[in-house]
């Protein structure tokens, strides 16, 4: 249920509306825009039957949200959410006027390769660094990542380059450790419905990059986001990374339509992972172009200084020169959708 207030509603009226809703054991969420304010009701809506919402002073209309996701739904927020990542050494934003590209190796293999990759992707226009520390590999015999050592390397490289860092957290037991080192925590496709992990991430003061599961519907992705939001963390960036279909020529099928559908359904930013979607370095650039053209707020791309000798996902990693070329070509697609690359200025961030 959302309550849209009258244009000239006073603070006291808003306080009163919220008190009436909270008096029955529900909680409220306030979204203020320039022209109107939305009060979202969170909890068991049957409790609201006894509250005469429409007759409360300041209320213009009351609209039920029929979708199972509430906090994540487009109706719940006046404006689109802009998620800000980083801060100490540099920051990036998702959902604002600029497109943010995250780039880096599938997994952190050594300090040298990480710093080399970070410098290369930064000079090509990436504003965030990715790098796996704990790797959820399909085979238990494959390289599993450097773990805590990789987290320290990522934090060091962030300090050196100013690029905020995103890395995957696989287990509730790792959440504190990863949050200590990384600027953004990624939930991988295989963990999208790990509800214990999602609930734990609701209590973290770090933005979350939530990847769509291999066989998850858009509704299930939004319910996963709702899980994190219901536990208190509203800074979520959704990521389309390809879904499993009958097609075998590509590793997954990039669901381009998911981008505009998500934009219609939710106020949360949406980015695309063209590397995992195609599973082939040659497909990364065309899929990235399509993603930006379809309205994505950013990309997450695997870049390795020597893809041939990468310990994981070498087939889909771009070498730095190919990444730089792709970034140059992307500018035209961004411009066509009225977006640009690079850091938002603090003032752009404030009004976005």
């Amino acid at each position: 249920m959302i309550i849209i207030t009258r244009p000239n509603v006073s603070d006291a009226e808003i306080d009163h509306i919220r008190e009436r809703i909270e008096s029955v054991g529900m909680r409220t969420h306030l979204s203020r825009g320039e022209h109107r304010t939305i009060i979202g009701c969170i909890g068991d809506e049957s409790l609201l039957h006894e509250v005469p919402l429409r007759s409360l002073p300041g209320v213009e209309s009351v609209t039920p949200i029929l979708k199972p996701y509430k906090l994540a739904s487009r109706e719940f927020a006046v404006d689109r959410t802009v998620v800000r990542v980083g801060g100490r050494d540099g920051f990036a934003t998702f959902g604002g006027p600029t497109i943010t590209v995250i780039a880096g190796p599938c997994s952190v293999e050594s300090r040298g390769m990480l710093i080399e990759t970070a410098r290369a992707v930064r000079s090509a226009g990436a504003t965030m660094l990715r790098g796996g520390a704990f790797k959820p590999r399909t085979s238990p015999y494959a390289f599993q990542g450097l773990g805590a050592e990789a987290l320290r390397l990522l934090a060091d490289v962030r300090t050196e380059t100013g690029l905020p860092v995103v890395t995957e957290v696989m287990d509730t037991r790792q959440v504190d450790l990863v949050a200590e080192h990384a600027d953004m925590l990624q939930v991988g496709a295989r963990n999208m419905q790990n509800f214990a992990l999602l609930a734990e991430l609701g209590h973290v003061r770090r933005p979350i990059l939530l990847k769509r599961g291999l066989s998850a519907t858009i509704k299930e992705l939004l319910m996963a986001a709702e899980y994190i939001m219901a536990n208190g963390n509203h800074d979520i960036v959704l990521c389309e990374r390809g879904i499993r279909t009958y097609e075998t020529a590509t590793r997954n099928t990039l669901d381009i339509a998911a981008i505009p559908v998500l934009k219609r359904e939710t106020h949360l930013p949406v980015i695309v992972d063209p590397s995992h979607a195609g599973g082939d370095a040659g497909l990364v650039a065309p899929l990235a172009f399509a993603a930006i053209a379809a309205g994505a707020d950013g990309l997450i791309v695997e870049v390795h200084p020597d893809p041939e000798n990468a310990l994981s996902d070498g087939d889909q990693s771009l070498a730095p020169p190919a990444f730089a070329t792709m970034m140059q070509q992307l500018e035209a697609f961004a411009a066509a959708t009225g977006r640009s690359f690079g850091l938002d200025t603090p003032s752009a961030w404030a009004v976005a």
Binding site: R18, I21, E22
Partner: protein
């Protein structure tokens, strides 16, 4: 822009500010302990009076009141509400038999 080399005076002031913050944090924790103790006592009184422990109407009134106080003090009211929902939750759990 300020000079990149910190001068001794500002470093000393920074240390003073941090000591003051720690002192205030100690006070906040002591006040929380006092508030929780009062919460436990109201829990006992509710039990004696045959009233339910969970009282959403009272919780909503507490939150509304601190929202107004915060606004008058020039503080952003949403974060203050979040903090007080946590405190109200702590108090409720303490009343409910001290489970935390």
């Amino acid at each position: 822009m300020t000079d990149s080399a910190p001068n001794a005076e500002s470093l000393a002031e920074l240390a003073r500010c941090r000591r003051e913050i720690e002192r205030i944090d100690n006070e906040l924790v002591e006040l929380l302990a006092k508030r929780l103790a009062l919460g436990k006592r109201t829990g006992e009184l509710k039990r004696l009076a045959g009233l339910p422990i969970l009282d959403p109407t009272r919780e909503a009134a507490v939150i509304r009141r601190v929202t107004e106080v915060a606004r008058e003090a020039g503080l952003p009211s949403e974060p203050v509400r979040e903090v007080f929902w946590q405190i109200v939750g702590m108090s409720r759990r303490a009343q409910d038999g001290g489970r935390e």
